[in-house]
Amino acid sequence: MKVNDLLAHGFKALCLTDGDREIDGVYVGDLLSWVMGRAQMDNAWITIMSNVNVVAVASLADTSCVILAEGVALPEDVRETAEAKDVNILGSDDPIYETAVKLAALLN
């Protein structure tokens, strides 16, 4: 499944620079230093954190996209950084668990 495909399932595009990226697995976490060492390449990463460090961690871990759950807003300056660094960010109005469950169903 590609990042673009999520748009048909209620996920919103907050910053989409490479929608053709393939999603392989999901990681969930908010403690950025923890995520940095554990999220795998091509994972979709679900979090409620939305500061600029999220873009850096997504870039380091090379995740396919960040998904901001719980309807968390993406600040404009962070969106600009994400765009410059080619980091996909989607939004979900569902809580973290429901977002993860939804993704699991879509990926299987």
């Binding site: 950025l32 230093s33 923890w34 460090n53 873009v55 850096a56 870039s59 380091l60 660094k85």
Partner: protein
């Protein structure tokens, strides 16, 4: 990071890399405010570099394009409504009094406060890895202080390396006893 002691280790490692001969690590706990200061006499940073180290996409390492030590510490501060500040004087600007001063403040009563963790372990790791540079460590709390100054140890030990097994054991015990008296 799950403990601030790991952030302290990270920032102090930067001080050593900057060629510091003395790195001071001072923790002060006063009411609900915790302050961590890391002060070194290393080569210092220009204003531009100081601005960029809080940027997660900056690093002095060449292996990756982002450096997360200072940005994550800043985040940990701001999550408790504290703040992080850095002042620095380059060796070029002042050949005598150069170095970097990092100050991080935290409100310990904030729900998102990251626990301090095992600071003694961080100090031991620093001495173990860099036995030829000096560290002054102080943890002030409730009018008491835990203190370790490797310059004083060096004077007594003369040629015995600070990272020899017996010395490390002794330092660990020395810190532990002082922490017992502190709590």
């Amino acid at each position: 990071m799950k403990e601030l002691s790991l952030n302290i280790l990270d920032v102090a490692e930067n001080s050593v890399k900057a060629g510091a001969t003395l790195t001071q690590i001072i923790i002060t706990e006063q009411d609900n405010l915790l302050t961590i200061e890391i002060v070194d006499d290393g080569c210092g940073m220009s204003e531009e570099v100081v601005r960029s180290v809080v940027d997660p996409f900056y690093t002095t390492r060449t292996t990756r394009k982002v450096g997360m030590g200072i940005p994550l510490l800043k985040l940990a501060c701001e999550q408790t409504e504290g703040e992080l500040s850095i002042s620095s004087i380059t060796q070029e600007n002042d050949p005598v009094n150069h170095g970097t001063h990092v100050t991080a403040t935290f409100h310990t009563d904030h729900i998102d406060f990251t626990p301090l963790g095992d600071v003694s372990a961080s100090i031991l790791t620093l001495i173990q890895g860099h036995p030829d540079t000096d560290f002054l460590f102080m943890h002030k709390k409730n009018g008491r202080v835990v203190k370790l100054d490797t310059r004083e140890l060096r004077e007594v030990l003369e040629d015995v390396p600070l990272n020899s097994y017996d010395v490390m054991e002794w330092i660990g015990e020395y810190l532990r006893e002082q922490y017992e008296a502190l709590s």
